[in-house]
């Protein structure tokens, strides 16, 4: 199959790669560019672990043809931190224990960024809507929802609801 050159911005820096016709963006990001933050989960757009932003829109990269991002701006979780300074979402995910195995985390972060970029003060319902295309197996979602609200400064502290009443015998 013929290979086609494409250029796009990845997290603000220019990338030029050859892609095969029909090759999906996720594979190009992981294999050709070497950005391993988008994950291959279901390969059919159901789990959201490959979520990236294309010109600010939340897209599942496993169902996106790589050649369609020619000239576009692509953002992944790898672009969230600025040098050693973590993004507010990353801080909130850490503080709120919003990850266990971590496989869904990059996709969750990207979906959350798409939300906060457009709506800096989301409601709980807005957050649920924004991550409704991202599946998580471990956390039960609640710590993730709380972390996104905390990153948005919506006053949900991440101190948890541990109501341990101390050692009892």
């Amino acid at each position: 199959m013929a290979k086609k050159p494409i250029q796009f911005q990845l997290n603000g820096s220019s990338k030029s790669v050859f892609v095969e016709e029909g090759q999906n963006l996720l594979e190009v990001l992981r294999r050709e560019v070497g950005d391993l933050t988008p994950k291959l989960g279901c390969a059919q757009g159901a789990c959201g672990s490959c979520t990236v932003l294309i010109d600010g829109e939340q897209i599942v990269s496993c169902l996106t043809l790589a050649e369609t991002v020619e000239g576009a701006s692509v953002e992944t979780a790898a672009g969230l931190a600025n040098g050693p300074t973590l993004h507010a979402l990353q801080e909130a995910f850490m503080d709120g224990f919003a990850a266990q195995c971590g496989f869904c985390t990059p996709g969750m972060l990207v979906s959350a960024k798409a939300l906060l970029d457009k709506n800096p003060s989301p409601s709980r319902g807005d957050v649920i809507e924004a991550i409704s295309g991202n599946l998580c197996r471990c956390t039960g979602y609640e710590p993730i929802i709380d972390a996104i609200l905390a990153a948005a400064g919506n006053g949900h502290n991440s101190a948890g609801r541990y109501s341990g009443s101390g050692r009892q015998s």
């Binding site: 159901a46 009443s165 101390g166």
Partner: protein, 340 residues
């Protein structure tokens, strides 16, 4: 269409670990050239917090800061033997092995410090901040890194330790039929409130209230997080997940991930958890294992709540709308039992 409220309760005893030919795990601990410590395991951290908890346990035992401990794990080529991360055994089995290994390494470190300070090792204490000093005389002090350094470069000692924790196989007593397969139980009780729609059979879980007894919660935030996520998975198993739904035949079942039903962020159930700490006598610092038991009480509690709501007793999982509707039909209508 009528919505019927139901409440269900379940309590469990959960055995930590297993009894299939003995249940061992090993740990190795050694100091590094920079005076920090490595814990070598082959146990798996799949998100439950194995690395965090074994790191805390090693730091506490060695008497050094958590930041000075590195846990190298999940490689069975380089780590000592572990049975694995299952049966809620990790904290209990591996934690005990880490204590034994770290205790031996600490002994060598204190001997090296004692020789350097010209005192008895029994007179030395650690401050948990990277210092060893003579009890009652904080000025007679050496850092843990210096002690490990003199052990290596002047005394020719390895600051290291080996640990294993084994629950031996418990055979059945041929005379009485008795055995002791488990040394440690965790416990939980959970109440679930839900609503059942008697026209669609759909169940909406409204709230869960629970108490989990986990021994000592070695890392309370990790315990809480594991309980929230695990209980959510219990809801998922109780009401949603199956590759063999009770449809006319298999061809109506899910063909791929897209049609395999799991609850999403919109189905999060408010869950209030009380964590009760009753340290286990044979647990590492009293810890048990909040693993599989997170999900276990949810399933019977949901089944009981569905019975309470509409009088349908379902004994196979998941409790799908179709099964509930068939049950209601067989009973000649919903038979609310009345919330106790």
């Amino acid at each position: 269409m009528t919505m019927h409220s139901g409440r269900g309760f379940a309590a469990i005893n959960y055995p930590i670990g297993m009894n299939l030919g003995g249940d061992p795990s090993q740990a190795l601990v050694h100091s590094n050239p920079d005076g920090k410590f490595t814990v070598a395991l082959s146990s798996i951290d799949l998100g439950q917090g194995m690395k965090s908890v074994t790191r805390q346990i090693a730091a506490e035992t060695l008497g050094i800061p958590v930041a000075d401990v590195y846990v190298d794990t999940a490689d069975s080529d380089t780590g000592p033997h572990c049975m694995g991360s299952f049966a809620s055994r990790g904290t209990h089995r591996v934690g005990n092995a880490v204590i034994e290994a770290a205790t031996e390494a600490r002994g060598v470190m204190l001997e090296a410090a004692a020789e350097e300070l010209e005192v008895n090792p029994e007179d030395l204490v650690t401050d948990g901040k990277g210092n060893i000093h003579v009890r009652g005389a904080p000025s007679r002090s050496i850092t843990t890194a210096e002690a490990c350094g003199v052990a290596q470069f002047q005394q020719g000692k390895t600051v290291s330790g080996r640990g294993i924790f084994l629950i031996p196989l418990s055979d059945v007593d041929p005379d009485t039929g008795e055995m002791t397969p488990v040394s440690c139980f965790a416990h939980a009780a959970l109440v679930v409130d839900l609503e059942v729609d008697d026209m669609t059979g759909e169940v909406t879980v409204l709230k869960m209230n629970s108490a989990y007894e986990v021994g000592r919660a070695l890392n309370p935030r990790l315990v809480e997080q594991q309980l929230i996520g695990g209980a959510w998975m219990g809801v998922s198993h109780a009401l949603y997940e199956t590759t063999e739904p009770y449809y006319p035949d298999r061809s109506h079942g899910p063909q791929d991930f897209g049609s395999y039903i799991m609850p999403g962020p919109g189905e999060v159930v408010p869950h209030d958890i009380a964590i009760l700490e009753r340290p286990a006598p044979d647990g590492p610092f009293g810890g048990k294992g909040p693993g599989e038991m997170c999900a276990n009480p949810v399933l019977p509690a949901v089944a009981n709540a569905v019975f309470n709501a509409v009088g349908v007793r379902i004994t196979d999982l998941p409790i799908t709308p179709e099964k509930i509707l068939r049950g209601i039909k067989a009973n000649g209508g919903a038979q609310p039992q009345g919330i106790v």
